[in-house]
Symmetry: C2
Subunit: 254 residues, 2 copies
Amino acid sequence: MPRIAMVVEYDGSGFCGWQYQPLQRSIQGEISKTLNVVLREYVGLVQSSGRTDAGVHAAGQVISFKVDSATIDCFKLSHSVSSLLRGEVAIIAAGYVPDVFHPRRNVQFKEYCYRVENRKTPLVLSKKYAWHVPEKIDWKLVEHESRFFVGEHDFTTFRAAGHETRNAVRTIYDLAVVSDGCSVEFRIKGTGFLKHMVRIIVGTLIDIGRGKISRSVAQLLLDCDRGRAGITAPPHGLKMSRVRYEDAELRWLG
Amino acid sequence: MPRIAMVVEYDGSGFCGWQYQPLQRSIQGEISKTLNVVLREYVGLVQSSGRTDAGVHAAGQVISFKVDSATIDCFKLSHSVSSLLRGEVAIIAAGYVPDVFHPRRNVQFKEYCYRVENRKTPLVLSKKYAWHVPEKIDWKLVEHESRFFVGEHDFTTFRAAGHETRNAVRTIYDLAVVSDGCSVEFRIKGTGFLKHMVRIIVGTLIDIGRGKISRSVAQLLLDCDRGRAGITAPPHGLKMSRVRYEDAELRWLG
């Protein structure tokens, strides 16, 4: 059967998360429903490169689904879906892909961005997309400690307690701390991420920066103990920004 | 009488603009009302460095008002005002200033930022703070033409038709076009701006870039004819970002 892939932007504020939940408003559910209506066929639940938690945003999530026809105008389809989910979901790009494609397979890297606003006064213009941290942060220390995440590690310390997958070994290619005044962005690139992993990494780095944790990241990684890491940073500061595939023909997806 | 100045951030979306209007929700009105309540005295309508139109935001608007006492805790006052106008207005800084201070006088420069998103697909994450322009833009041309605004000019072509002030001569110190992918920011610094001036400048540059206007900015400035300029860019892409005063003691304001 022919298969279509799409790059999707969404505002996670009004959803229970990516994953379909009966009686709740999920991104997976709303996109799948809209595709059924527009295509007038049952496409089932669309696949994605990874679930995002409730409140987490995306600028470049990749999704995929099978269709009956190989001659759908993907531009028109994107336009219709974006219009019906106006303001909350937009299809950035769309096209046919090989029928064996799965958005979670052959990922070269995924990139997440986490935004922190480090100032005493409450947020106004950035309140929906940044975590407000009023305490003084030692940013030099945060930057120094952030480097220890890069590489292949067992991330047991940095995963949600109620996890499913057994293997906690993941590779982080890059973790950049980019600041513009009191606005700081953490840009994390890796093969894949465990549940809450990015949010616990950011929460721990902030807790180290504001003196709530004195253990180093190197020690914490060896501890393999979630209890020693910092808080899970709130979801609204996080954005899945990009998914890159190994296959050169899939480069348009990220 | 003692006088206080404040640096204010606000989201213009829910207001009829800066200026007080009876029976409408203005930023000037809401801040003044809140100060009356918190200070338990009548401070009247607060002054500002300039009015912003309905829908225009601010990250660094400067306001000022007289108070009875010279011993108010400005930090507490800011906190109370920000709390009462939660999410829409935040006081970034506050302190006593000389009683002759007026936020529109002795301004060294004011800075505005205008954000454009130049992409075909609809906006989601930036929709409240950027103008969506789907057409192809010749950004090289836009950058080239933007330089002609810098300097002292008669801005009659670039002011709202229903204006009040007679003299249309203003000085622009700098106009930078900063792009990050399809997101482009116009940063304009000047002594003062006429009604709708920044929005007409941006609208005209975009109209030149998308081929709707073939006249150059140099010609348009000489025309002194609003009819020849481009559209007034929508308000929600605009943000008053900073007001800088000549007096060294007032540097904390911007």
